[in-house]
């Protein structure tokens, strides 16, 4: 019988293993750097960070946790997409089906909902923390702007998702939330100076958002595509820029 060490060597010292895993857990400074730079996820971080920038009482972990919440909504959201049809006749029935018949359907829906709410709270706390540590100051001004855009996109993601269950709560919350669009100056039919532009109930800012004069099946499809494809794509792009800039502008701490 082979010894434990020999079995381990047989597994890890062959061409297939080494093609996938470039290095082990050897605790040397070189390997610690490789762990970060040779890993597609971890390379978003610099290989080394300021000692005080690592502490939880400095970062509150809020930026990373916002991203974690985003990943949770992506994973659970894809699961939900398998069982949900964005069609007015089916949407609500699919919600019921998903809650009562699908394996882990209710759990996935709950996780999707609560992580979305948590993401909104975390992104606000993240902004508050970044403000308190003055981390928007030069050279990080641009990243603050990207952050504000991401905050707006987080709210829009949450808002467009709110409509999808197609129940009383969702259509009326979205109705109230987007009624303001019809009061947009110039572009909304109830807003100031609307007649100068010729905005009317079926041709104004809210109709553009809804895909029609009133909330209806067209709105459901529109919000579904915004929620599942358009906004996540834009947000992912901005997140990539956001994380990259954090790394380039030296992670959490006074500039050198």
């Amino acid at each position: 019988m082979k010894k434990w060490e020999e079995i381990k060597r047989d597994i890890t010292e062959n061409q297939v293993w080494k093609a996938i895993f470039r290095h082990g857990y050897e605790d040397t400074p070189r390997n610690r750097v490789l762990m970060v730079t040779a890993n597609v996820w971890l390379h978003l971080h610099p290989a080394k960070v300021r000692r005080h920038g690592v502490r939880m009482r400095f970062t509150w972990c809020m930026g990373g946790l916002t991203f974690l919440m985003f990943l949770v909504t992506v994973v659970t959201g894809i699961y939900l997409m398998f069982y949900y049809r964005p069609v007015a006749e089916y949407a609500y029935a699919d919600m019921k089906y998903l809650e009562f018949d699908m394996p882990f359907g209710m759990l996935m829906r709950n996780m999707h909902r609560w992580s979305a709410h948590t993401m909104v709270v975390f992104v606000w706390l993240h902004m508050f923390r970044v403000f308190l540590t003055g981390s928007y100051k030069p050279p990080r001004e641009f990243n603050w702007i990207v952050g504000v855009l991401l905050l707006v996109l987080t709210l829009l993601l949450s808002f467009t998702g709110y409509l999808l269950p197609w129940d009383q709560l969702s259509i009326w919350a979205v109705t109230v939330g987007s009624n303001m669009a019809r009061a947009t100056p110039l572009l909304g039919h109830e807003g100031p100076f609307a007649d100068l532009v010729g905005a009317n109930p079926i041709y104004d800012a809210r109709a553009f958002l809804f895909g029609g004069g009133e909330i209806g099946p067209h709105t459901l499809l529109r919000f579904y595509i915004l929620h599942c494809i358009f906004i996540p794509m834009v947000a992912s792009l901005l997140m990539a820029i956001h994380f990259w800039r954090i790394r380039r502008d030296s992670f959490s701490g006074p500039p050198l």
Binding site: T28, P29, R30, N31, R32, M35, V36, L42, H45, A47, K48, V49, R50, R51, H52, V54, F58, C61, G64, L65, L68, A88, M106, L107, R109, N110, H112, R113, W114, H117, V120, F128, F131, T133, G134, K137, P138, E141, W144, I145, V148, L151, S158, F159, Y162, D167, Q168, I171, W172, A173, V176, N179, M180, A183, P185, G191, P192, F193, P254, P255
Partner: protein
């Protein structure tokens, strides 16, 4: 061996940096696991709401926006939708983006300090916690049918009678003619901006000094002052409404403020 040699070469360089692996990754990993645990427990215990199917012919009273927009919905009590729902939110977003460019204080970059940036932090605290968050709390817990005020434990009486005694400010001031009321309102609104801009200038001059104002420049001063004064117009209007039942300050054929 290569690693040790590399460390020897680097050791004379003094810095306070630590390796991301394991020092940062460890914290992220543990916090991530903890938050996922809480999230899963929460999701097991509390179900997401699902009400009866959508019915465009049956409007619930009250109809509330998602909670994170209730601050905006609460502002609709004090301003018309074009202002509370479009102009002010746009100014919030633009104003937030402006922060790095109007704050020229080099101190407090990358560490916590209150003393070195007292006014910046107090302004942010006022806008975020006092206005935004408390408006959300009022909208979520203290508003019932007809958007009337209710205590969280109070029964929501849909027939609650609230006297509508609000009048426009020019009326309070004695103007009865439509044209002169409008002129009066315009004078009050423009007067508010002129007077508070001047007050803001004098205040900055007193607490920061002439040197600072020169470094700050006219453009930064004006942007900051306009954003700051606009932010204060919300509590100002709230005060006028709650203390004197003022509906609008300025009534015109096109818009009301």
């Amino acid at each position: 061996m290569a690693g040790i040699a590399q460390e020897k070469r680097k050791s004379p360089v003094v810095d306070d940096k630590v390796h991301t692996w394991p020092h940062l990754v460890r914290v992220e990993f543990l916090v991530g696991i903890f938050v996922m645990l809480v999230l899963i427990l929460w999701s097991l215990l509390v179900d997401a709401p699902l009400e009866e199917p959508a019915n465009p012919t049956r409007t619930p009273n009250p109809s509330k926006a998602p909670w994170y927009f209730l601050g905006l919905q609460e502002m609709l009590v004090y301003f018309d939708p074009w202002h509370a729902g479009v102009v002010l939110p746009s100014l919030i977003i633009v104003g937030l983006m402006m922060i790095p460019f109007i704050d020229i204080n080099p101190k407090g970059n990358g560490y916590y300090t209150f003393k070195e940036r007292k006014y910046e932090i107090l302004t942010f605290f006022f806008g975020f916690h006092v206005l935004w968050v408390s408006m959300i709390i009022i909208g979520t817990f203290f508003r019932g049918p007809g958007w009337n005020l209710f205590w969280p434990w109070q029964h929501w009486d849909p027939h609650k009678v609230v006297a509508l005694t609000n009048v426009d400010l020019p009326y309070v001031l004695g103007f009865r003619d439509y044209f002169w009321s409008s002129v009066c309102g315009g004078v009050v609104v423009f007067g508010y901006f002129v007077v508070s801009l001047a007050a803001f200038y004098l205040w900055i001059l007193r607490v920061k000094g002439k040197d600072f104002l020169e470094r700050w420049g006219m453009v930064r001063f004006l942007i900051t002052a306009l954003l700051f004064v606009t932010m204060l117009s919300l509590p100002a209007k709230m005060f006028l409404r709650l203390a004197f039942n003022v509906k609008y300050v300025w009534v015109t054929p096109w818009f009301n403020i």
